[in-house]
């Protein structure tokens, strides 16, 4: 098998918190032992509730937060210990789109400057005319007229700002695009435009996507595989259709059941099946399986020992003692 674009092994991101006067500060385990491979051209969805570690995982991969342990292998090289200076050349291949489209654009820069900035940093040899051509090209590609280059972000709607953010990320033709909740702040009718745009860009440019989202319906549209996280730990990893049609982890089932369906014939009944409880404090996670305190299937063994990440099939892994039961 070919070398994956990105290989994550036992990745941990812990944050020291609290100010114990004496002794060690507590460790918040935001990401705690995540493994996956990402192939070139593949879109992987990372899902879970707020506080499950999905954004931290994405940021650790981009080296925007330091990882505590484990490996981040980018195109065959372990980059987890690299300095900022060493990582910088990689950034042209690793780009990100943020949730809040307006806040992630510098209000004092014109759209042209915003989209050209990555080129200035990573392709300084380009001539002015070439740069302008590249900017116009990517703006057209994301559905904006090149005439917008002299305007400022506040003149645009949320959906247009998100297109500008995507243009900035795509102008370098990155190999990996990380999308951190890119449609969550947008109106319903605009979400579909952005989802379709990302689908088109992926098809045309062939980049890989890490799609961090709490919206499981959007993830189903866009991603080939999905990783479900809970309290920083992987619960289930599977090809999208397998995960949605045959989820094996009770948490995955709970998440799927919670997404409302706009059909009055089925939705009222789904309300009764809501997953109970809330995410426990990540500072004192439950023993054994971290999900057991909310799990409808929990039994004594779940409190004693954390389940291993078992293979349901070669492509489908799940961390649950009772995954064989339906």
């Amino acid at each position: 098998m070919t070398e994956p674009l990105l290989r994550i092994r036992n990745l941990r991101v812990w944050f020291p918190v609290g100010t114990a006067l004496f002794g060690k500060p507590a460790q918040l385990r935001a990401v705690d032992g995540v493994d996956f491979d990402l192939q070139a051209g593949e879109a992987l969805g990372i899902v879970g509730e707020s506080g499950c570690g999905k954004s931290t995982l994405a940021r650790a991969i981009l080296r925007l937060v330091p990882s505590t342990a484990g490996q981040i292998v980018w195109m065959g090289q372990s980059i987890e210990g690299w300095s900022n200076r060493q990582v910088r050349p990689l950034r042209r291949d690793l780009q990100i789109v943020f949730q809040d489209p307006l806040a992630s654009l510098d209000p004092r820069m014109t759209v042209g400057e915003i989209v050209a900035e990555p080129l200035r940093v990573h392709a300084p040899k380009l001539s002015r005319a070439e740069r302008r051509e590249r900017v116009a090209d990517i703006l057209r590609r994301v559905g904006l007229s090149p005439d917008v280059i002299n305007r400022y972000p506040h003149e645009f709607s949320g959906g247009q700002c998100q297109r500008i953010g995507i243009a900035r990320a795509m102008v370098l033709r990155p190999k990996l695009l990380v999308c951190d909740e890119p449609v969550s702040a947008l109106d319903v009718s605009i979400q579909a435009q952005i989802v379709n745009l990302l689908q088109d860009l992926k098809r045309d440019f062939g980049m890989s996507i890490l799609f961090v989202s709490h919206n499981l319906a959007v993830v189903r549209k866009l991603c080939e595989r999905v990783l479900v996280l809970y309290l920083g730990k992987p619960m289930e990893l599977a090809p999208t259709e397998m995960l949605y049609s045959d989820p094996r982890h009770p948490y995955t089932r709970g998440l799927l059941a919670a997404v409302p369906i706009p059909d009055p014939a089925v939705q009222p009944l789904r309300l009764g099946t809501a997953l109970g409880g809330e995410l426990p404090s990540p500072l004192s996670p439950p023993s054994g399986c971290v999900f057991r305190t909310r799990c409808p299937m929990a039994e004594p063994q779940c409190a004693a020992t954390a389940p291993t990440f078992d293979e349901v099939s070669k492509a489908h892994q799940v961390a649950c003692w009772r995954w064989r039961e339906k």
Binding site: I190, D263, L275
Partner: protein
């Protein structure tokens, strides 16, 4: 049965330095006892402003016309004294962001107790007892301990439950819920919606649910009102509107939503353009620039809200499909 809340020809306008902005026009709604009506629309559709107007909570530069009656009481244009007699007792509201709508420096018990002391004349001890019952009713875990906590010590879902407890304190006739689950995780959203559905069922409470999510409406509402550009564009039983929409906007909105139960990665049917800015509403039908079915007439003449067969639609060319169940 007569309506518990009756809104007629509500209009909301804001005076701004750039002129008058019409936020809501010709909004009428009758809410029956024990009924839940969902109000659906995107940003700027006027859904929240309509009910802030009913509650007398609009910004200072707003002017309101029309009528909104809660039983015998006219709410619009009434003085603060008269409004305060019904707000928090017969008419209660919960908001999107449970952090900013709770008072940060007051304990949970005092926030729930406030309206009980004010409207019902309960003593502090009685209010505390009632607050505890209410927290249990809204399924707050560890209720006794929560009474003396502050909002920042609670999770988002817990805060929204406290908001609901405050709203329920005086057993309101009508509860207005303005995007009550938008800031919450889907799992917590499902819990809160299940709670609201249960309260509606068991207490016969009438409810208005303002939301942008048609899936939320499908789970709990009896009827749905779809708004666009400050006006009602479609209105009817939830089954009719969601399964056989007649307004092109309602249909397009449904088609643009990715569904969790839909296999495959066929592109979504996005609606082009964006929701209109209320400052610059298009002439004629406000949806016509984005409408796949628009004709010349739509750009010139605003369609009236036509009522027929228990539903209403404001469109020159409504989609008529013979419904066979």
């Amino acid at each position: 049965m007569s309506a518990v809340l009756s809104i007629r020809d509500l209009a909301v306008r804001f005076s701004t330095p750039d002129g008058v902005v019409p936020a809501v026009n010709e909004f009428s709604l009758e809410l029956a006892p024990g009924e839940c009506v969902g109000i659906v629309g995107e940003s700027g559709a006027g859904k929240s402003q309509s009910f802030l107007a009913v509650m007398g909570l609009l910004a200072g530069n707003a002017s309101v016309s029309g009528s909104a009656r809660l039983g015998e009481t006219e709410l619009l244009g009434n003085d603060r004294e008269a409004l305060n007699a019904v707000r928090g007792s017969k008419l209660a509201m919960i908001f999107q962001d449970p952090m900013t709508s709770l008072t940060p420096h007051l304990r949970v018990v005092d926030q729930i107790g406030e309206s009980l002391v004010r409207h019902r004349g309960l003593s502090k001890a009685q209010a505390r007892q009632r607050a505890l019952e209410l927290l249990r009713l809204v399924q707050v875990t560890d209720a006794e301990r929560r009474l003396d906590q502050y909002p920042h010590e609670l999770s988002g879902g817990m805060r929204q439950r406290v908001m609901i407890a405050i709203a329920l304190a005086c057993d309101p006739t009508v509860l207005i819920a303005d995007e009550p689950t938008t800031a919450l995780d889907v799992t917590i959203q499902a819990q809160i919606l299940a709670l609201l559905a249960q309260l509606k069922r068991e207490r016969g409470m009438s409810m208005v649910l303002v939301t942008h999510d048609l899936g939320v409406v499908a789970g709990i509402a009896d009827r749905v009102v779809v708004m666009y550009g400050g006006r009602i564009v479609e209105h009817g039983a939830v089954k009719d509107i969601l399964l056989a929409p007649q307004h092109p906007y309602t249909r397009a909105l449904l088609a643009s939503m990715p569904r969790i139960d839909e296999v495959g990665n066929a592109p979504l049917q996005a609606i082009g353009g964006q929701p209109p800015n209320p400052r610059r509403l298009p002439n004629g039908c406000a949806f016509h620039p984005r409408c796949a079915l628009a004709a010349d007439r739509c750009a010139n003449e605003r369609p009236a809200l036509n009522v027929a067969a228990g539903r209403a639609v404001a469109c020159h060319f409504p989609i008529r499909v013979d419904a066979h169940d």
